[in-house]
Amino acid sequence: MERFVQVVVDGVATGSIYAAVALALVLIYRSTTIVNFAQGEMAMFSTFVAWGLYEGGVPLGLAVLTTLGLSFFAGMAIERGLIRHFEGGETLTLVIVTLGMFILLNSLAGWIWGFENRGFPSLFPDDSVTLGGVRLSVESLGIVAVLLAVVGLLTLLFQRTKVGLAMRAAALNPDSSALVGIRVGHMLMLGWGLAAALGALAGVLVAPRLFLDVNLMGSVLIYAFAAAALGGFDSALGAVVGGWIIGVSETLAGTYVDFIGSDLKILVPLGIIFVVLLVRPSGLFGQSEVARA
């Protein structure tokens, strides 16, 4: 039983990282209907920046916070400088643009920091706590707590603040938003900035569990896409639940089903997604527009 709880908590922690990247994808998708294939590489790049700061002597916590801030502005700059010129264009064009950014950031990171593996320190102490008789790692609990805090903050932003309401409005109906005085371009920039910061957070959370190299986010991005598709690409709640389902099911299957092991465990969440999307093509929490003819 103790083993089971440990595996589930570990799965939720892994799933929380997927959820953070999935949330970033959803943020951008909702406001611009762009699927940002470069989300993972943006996060990898940010993680290298944090690593660079840390190696340069900046305390880890400060390095991470600085990186989140830098990523926020870099995300806004990417929207303003690059994406803005293609918004409202053909879907395929935007796919190519974000894929191009993927390759560019990947190569750029390799050029700056090299291609070898590097260790990345964890934000949390390498320790465990005993809760209800079960020993759980502080890191796993910490990751889940960070994700919950992020979700709480995003909920506050979107549900309780004026700028959050304006961001939702700009995503829903840009023309009407401009007519009430919302500068839609600023809202899209903000969305990209938030997404970049979220991605960076996922990067520094996942890096200690893997190794930091230019392919850090490769598989995370795929799991995050799966999480977003499972939850519904337009639903923030869906991204989180989707991330958790994937994290838990892959960890459980990898632990308890012998022939699956760590090589085939990706098949389990993908199987679940396949079934869910057959029954509900818009995902678990995806909405079809509320409208009355």
Binding site: L165, L172, V180, V290
Partner: protein, 236 residues
């Protein structure tokens, strides 16, 4: 000086010219109707003033030029545009829609007051304040669109075909409330309407557009009582 003074306004969608140089003006507190058949360019007049189409010419609003500014900036200067088809935020609640109307305002207390006032004018909106706007009936959505525009405390209210798709009884109700609000607040209105009879009853002054040009203009009462004009331009 007029609140809005338009001179030689041209507007085009891509290569297609829609407005061929029109002149008109709206005085403070005046209700002006822009009439004409489908495709005459009525909607384009409003879209041009809101910066949503390519324009040339002059449009002075309260001493400054309106043209060639971003739509959001024009809205912030006090031009509230209720677009054709209402443009409500379908999945946001009625209250959220109304709050968005006041997005550019900084006086939170005044906004709360105006929210109450809007619910007073349109009690059906208060009953549905938490429902998504997309679940309202066509008439309720039009009321919401008008109320949202009023939430900005506009200096010029521009309405695009508010009667479109509404039952006659709903239209009468809407224009009844609009008339009261305008009288109470000396609101300046630029109304685009295909229903000429309705618009002429509401407005003080009317312009008739034909193929992107002003074909005639005059006081609403005079236009209404001129049988010749009515038959040849307004078709009733």
């Amino acid at each position: 000086m007029s609140l809005l003074e338009v001179e030689g306004l041209y507007a085009s969608y891509g290569q297609v010219g829609v407005l061929q140089g029109i002149d008109f003006s709206v005085e403070r507190g005046q209700k002006v109707a822009m009439l004409g058949p489908n495709g005459a360019g009525k909607t384009t007049v409003l879209r041009a003033l809101s910066g949503m189409v390519r324009t040339s010419g002059r449009a002075d609003f309260d001493g400054g030029s309106l043209l060639r500014h971003p739509t959001a900036d024009i809205a912030r200067r006090g031009v509230a545009h209720v677009p054709e088809g209402r443009g409500t935020f379908a999945s946001l609640s009625v209250t959220e829609n109304l709050k968005l109307g006041a997005y550019a305002r900084r006086d939170a207390a005044g906004v709360r007051e105006d929210l109450e006032r809007c619910y007073g004018w349109f009690p059906r909106l208060r009953e549905r304040d938490r429902q998504p706007a997309g679940s309202l009936s066509g008439g309720e959505q039009q009321m919401l669109a008008v109320a949202r525009a009023l939430m900005s405390r506009p200096r010029l209210l521009m309405l695009d075909e508010p009667s479109l798709g509404l039952a006659p009884i709903v239209t009468r109700e809407l224009f009844g409330v609009l008339g009261e609000i305008c009288a109470e607040h000396a609101m300046t209105v630029l109304l685009v309407e295909q229903n000429a009879r309705l618009a002429l009853d509401f407005a003080d002054h009317a312009y008739v557009l034909e193929s992107g040009r002003i074909a005639l203009s005059g006081e609403a009462d005079r236009v209404k009582s001129d049988d010749e004009v009515r038959r040849s331009y307004l078709g009733y």
